[in-house]
Each structure stands twice: as structure tokens, then as C-alpha cells.
């Protein structure tokens, strides 16, 4: 039963993320906006392009949504408040995020449109850039917790400091990689509105676009929640109840991610790849080495 | 017992499909897909053996990891060769690659 109750905070979280997004992009705070936009989008015509790969075109948005939903299930709101406390949770969120790239390639290939296809393949390039940077910091976090379970990772931060203080390098790398997973600006190559006219979403209208947007909002929520769980101590904190802390931290991270993107120009695709392989991966290895040495020093 | 045999039969069918694909396709990447399917069938069998016969011997799981590595390595080298071939000849059709014979 508690599992079903978890749906409520997830839905509220998605709604707040949508509000924050419109606030950041329009500068006006309108909490009713997401609902109005959803109804408007459902009422819109949903067109199918002329010669599509119909199957891929239809299932791409649901796969994006399913990836988001699967990732939410293993992220805890509080000590016992979690849908599934998977023993491989840290790996599972990663596996769910990988299906984002599958969904976007399908969405790019399906409609048989030039802009969408270029955008889809661009996101594959982005995956090659960010994939190792999501994996390696999580490994360093798991080293401290001696477990891949998300609740165990939070509990490992209860004694002593949060991971953001002990592994600052991993935090920065994971944060940037998380922004790249959710294709938030400055890493928004697959939807780049100014150069690719919406990219993979160019041919999606109406209800399919609504599902796509819903999936992306879920994805942003899970990424922020993952940053909180892995680095910012999850539900830990004084005064407030545990789940309130998770909510506050997650929404702060979402706001910071959205706000950060406004001030940075879009990173060129090949620069992103070059930086993440020439700088990011060596730094991630240094992070693992650093965590290894500090843990050894603490344990001794 | 029946579950083990069920898993093995599924592995066998997947292996047969992979073998058919690897033999019948003329395109390098399609051949590789057949090989990947065969390796996938191997992994099914390995996991089934680990689960139903020796769940306490973790060398079984390690073996699966090695097979997975073989898949990745095969893909990397295969695509590398394909790219070289494509640059030289403009296609990756294997029937045209007969001049590679000694």
C-alpha cells in the first residue's frame, strides 16, 4: 500500500518541475500552467508524418516515460518510503537512463524527417560523452556505502559527512552528466530549438508530444533525486521530517539545474565529447583513486 | 528441473536463430548480429547452469561477465574492420570480400 502512496509525491514532483521549468523560461510563476498546457496538448491534433516507421514513431515517447518511471521506483523518499529497495539500485537507475537514448534514437528515426534524424544521432554522440561520467562517480559512491542499494548509500552518509564534501569531484562530474542525460541546456542537442527546430520533437504533436514532455519531466525529477541520494545525503537533515528533506533538496537541485542552463551557451557536440574523454574520464579516475585512498585512511 | 530445461531450450532456439542469421546474411553487420544472438544464447545457458546447478560457485557469474566482454570486444573490432573495409571499397557486403582469400 505504501507503494501506491509513493505515486502521489512523484506526480506532485512532476507538476512542480513543470512549474519551475515554465518559471525559468518565461520568468512568470504560474502554478496552473502545466495543467493548462497538458489539456491544450491533448486537445491538439496529433499528426503522423507522411512515410514514418510507424512502430518506432509510436513507441518512442512511451519508452522515454517508462525509463523515467522505472528510475523513480528505486529512489527513496525516506528510510522506509521507497517503491522497490532494489539491491542493485545504483546500477538500475543507470540502466533506466540508458533507455533514454534508445527512445530518442527511435524518435529521431521514426518520423523520417531530416531534423529529427540528425538530432537523434547527435544524442548518441552525447551518450558516448556522458555515459562513463554517470557510471564512474556512482562507483565511487558505492565504494563508500559497500552496497549498490540506494537506501544503503544514503545511510552511509548518516555517520560523518555527505558525499558532496568527501567527493566534490565526483559530485561535479555527476551533476554535469545528469544534466546531459536529461538533455537540459547547455547540453540540449537532441531538442535544440534554435538550430534544429525542436530536433526529435519536431514531428511530434498533440498527445504524443504530451507523453514525451511527461517523460522528460519525470526524467529530470529522477536525475535530481539521484543527485540528492548519491551526494546530498538523501533524507538526512535536522528539524524537518525525512521525506520533506528529500523533497526540498530534490526541488532545489531541479531549480539549480534549470537555472544554470539559462546562463551557459550550448556546448558543441564534438567539444562535449572531447572534453569528457580528455578531461572528464581522467578526473573520474582520479575521483575513484581519491575516494579509495581516503576510505582506506578512515578504515585503518 | 523443468525450469532448467525450459531455459536451455530457449537458449537452443536462440542459438539456432543466430546461426541461421550468421550463415544466411551477406552484410557484415547482420552477420555480427547473428553472432551476438549466439553469444546471448550462450549467456542464457550459463546463467541457467549457475542458477539451477551451482548457485554457490560464482565463477559462473564471472564467466557470464567474460562472455559479455567478448560481445563488446567483438563488436568493437568488427566495426573497426567494417569501417576500414567500407573506406576501401564503399560497402561491407561479404560476398564481395572474396579477394581476401589467400
Amino acid at each position: 500500500m505504501t507503494m501506491l502512496l509513493m505515486i502521489v509525491p512523484i506526480v506532485v514532483g512532476i507538476w512542480v518541475v513543470a512549474t519551475l521549468e515554465s518559471w525559468v523560461s518565461t520568468g512568470r510563476f504560474r502554478p496552473g500552467r502545466p495543467l493548462a498546457a497538458a489539456v491544450a496538448m491533448l486537445g491538439q491534433e496529433s499528426l503522423v508524418p507522411r512515410r514514418p516507421d510507424r512502430i518506432l514513431f509510436e513507441i518512442a515517447p512511451p519508452i522515454l516515460l517508462a525509463a523515467g518511471i522505472a528510475a523513480t521506483t528505486v529512489l527513496p523518499l525516506a528510510a522506509e518510503v521507497i517503491v522497490i529497495d532494489l539491491a542493485t539500485g545504483g546500477l538500475f537507475v543507470n540502466a533506466a537512463w540508458v533507455y533514454v537514448v534508445v527512445a530518442l534514437i527511435m524518435a529521431g528515426w521514426g518520423p523520417n524527417g531530416a531534423y529529427a534524424m540528425v538530432a537523434g544521432w547527435r544524442f548518441l554522440a552525447q551518450l558516448i560523452a556522458y555515459a562513463m561520467l554517470t557510471v564512474m562517480p556512482i562507483t565511487a559512491v558505492a565504494m563508500r556505502a559497500e552496497s549498490l542499494s540506494t537506501t544503503a548509500i544514503v545511510e552511509s552518509q548518516a555517520s560523518g559527512t555527505w558525499n558532496v564534501i568527501t567527493q566534490p569531484l565526483g559530485f561535479v562530474l555527476f551533476w554535469l552528466a545528469a544534466m546531459a542525460v536529461a538533455f537540459l541546456p547547455p547540453f540540449d542537442h537532441p531538442v535544440a530549438p534554435t538550430e534544429l527546430a525542436g530536433g526529435v520533437t519536431a514531428e511530434y504533436t498533440g498527445v504524443r508530444l504530451a507523453i514525451f514532455r511527461l517523460g522528460r519531466l519525470t526524467l529530470i525529477l529522477t536525475l535530481a533525486a539521484a543527485v540528492v541520494v548519491f551526494y546530498l545525503g538523501g533524507w538526512l537533515g535536522p528539524w524537518l521530517p525525512a521525506s520533506a528533506w528529500t523533497a526540498v533538496k530534490t526541488l532545489t537541485v531541479v531549480a539549480a539545474m534549470l537555472w544554470l542552463g539559462r546562463w551557459v551557451p550550448r556546448v558543441r557536440s564534438e567539444h562535449l565529447m572531447a572534453w569528457s574523454w580528455k578531461l572528464g574520464i581522467p578526473l573520474a579516475l582520479v575521483n575513484i583513486l581519491w575516494v579509495g585512498v581516503t576510505l582506506w585512511a578512515v578504515d585503518r | 528441473m523443468t525450469t532448467l530445461i525450459l531455459a536451455l531450450i530457449i537458449g537452443a532456439v536462440l542459438f539456432g536463430i543466430g546461426l541461421y542469421g550468421a550463415l544466411s546474411q551477406t552484410n557484415l553487420v547482420m552477420i555480427m548480429m547473428g553472432v551476438e544472438l549466439m553469444l546471448g544464447a550462450t549467456m542464457v545457458n550459463l546463467v541457467a547452469f549457475w542458477r539451477f546447478l551451482h548457485p554457490d560457485v560464482y565463477a559462473g557469474q564471472m564467466f557470464v561477465l567474460v562472455v559479455m566482454t567478448v560481445m563488446a570486444v567483438e563488436a568493437a573490432v568488427g566495426f573497426g574492420l567494417g569501417t576500414a573495409r567500407f573506406r576501401a571499397k564503399g560497402s561491407v557486403e561479404m560476398e564481395e570480400a572474396a579477394e581476401l582469400k589467400g
Partner: protein, 168 residues
């Protein structure tokens, strides 16, 4: 009972996707069908309580098959399969070989006496720890050999694939 049902379901899905790989003429579709087959195999691993391997399979194969799709698009003239070009040969022999291999493997699976079947496996937490110990102790040599294998494949792939500018 539940694991058997799940294994049967995911196995059927894997076989169906596996057949689809060689049926479509669209390259991206066949790469994504292979991903479907591999993801179903990952589901079978989950049903067989090898949770780490299952999740890993789901994850690795998604990246691998996406990259396979883009290589297909780079190599082929007609990756969308609009021309319905036939790209197969020796169909009959291949089909015969496939069926014979399947029948042989099924016969082995049915005829061999597999002995007693284990009922219980360790919990995932224990499994993960045991796998880590296995990698670090008994299979240490294998693990480092895998490292060298990956290095060799990286060097080989880059060496043959990257075009060099002619020396001046």
C-alpha cells in the same frame, strides 16, 4: 512457479525479437529488434535471480545496439529498407544448419541427467559481495586478462578504423 512463467514469457519475447532481426529490411529496425531480444534475455536473468547480471545486460546492450544501429546507417546505401533489397544468400543451407543446431542442443538439454536442481540462491546483496570477492581473488588472473583483451581490441579497432593522412 512464478519464475518459470517469467522465464517462458521473456524467452518467447527473445525468440520473437530474434526472428524479427532477420525479417525486416530496415537496418535500424533490425538493430532495435536485437536490442529487444537482448533486453528480454536480461529479463530472463532477472527471473533466474541473477539480478546484477540482468540489470547489467539491460544496460550494456542498449548502448551497444544503439551504436550498432548507427554503424548500419553509415555502411548501408538504404538503411530504411525502402528498396526491399534482398541481402541474404544460401538461405536453405543456413536454415538447415540452424534447425539442426537447435535440435541437437534441445536433445542434449532433454537427454542429459542434470542431477538435483538447486532450490535456493543467495540474496542479491550476498551475490554481489561474492562476485566481488570472486573477481578479486580466484578469478583475478582472468579479470586482468580481460583488461588486456579490451586494450588489444581498442588498439586494433582504432588502428584499422581511423584514416591517416598521407605522410608528406
Amino acid at each position: 512457479m512464478m519464475p518459470t512463467i517469467f522465464i517462458a514469457l521473456f524467452g518467447a519475447a527473445a525468440i520473437w525479437f530474434g526472428v524479427r532481426v532477420f525479417q525486416t529490411s530496415s537496418m535500424v529496425r533490425s538493430a532495435l529488434s536485437l536490442l529487444g531480444a537482448m533486453a528480454a534475455i536480461g529479463g530472463m536473468f532477472l527471473a533466474m535471480e541473477a539480478e546484477f547480471l540482468g540489470v547489467l545486460q539491460l544496460m550494456m546492450m542498449a548502448t551497444e545496439m544503439s551504436i550498432m544501429a548507427i554503424f548500419m546507417v553509415m555502411y548501408m546505401m538504404d538503411p530504411g529498407g525502402l528498396g526491399q533489397m534482398d541481402m541474404s544468400h544460401q538461405q536453405r543451407e543456413a536454415l538447415a544448419a540452424g534447425i539442426v543446431a537447435t535440435l541437437l542442443a534441445v536433445a542434449v538439454a532433454l537427454l542429459v541427467n542434470w542431477g538435483t536442481v538447486a532450490k535456493e540462491v543467495d540474496s542479491t546483496t550476498v551475490q554481489l559481495r561474492a562476485l566481488g570477492i570472486e573477481i578479486m581473488e580466484r578469478s583475478m588472473l582472468l579479470f586482468e586478462t580481460v583488461g588486456v583483451t579490451i586494450l588489444v581490441s581498442m588498439i586494433a579497432a582504432i588502428a584499422v578504423a581511423v584514416a591517416r593522412e598521407p605522410k608528406r
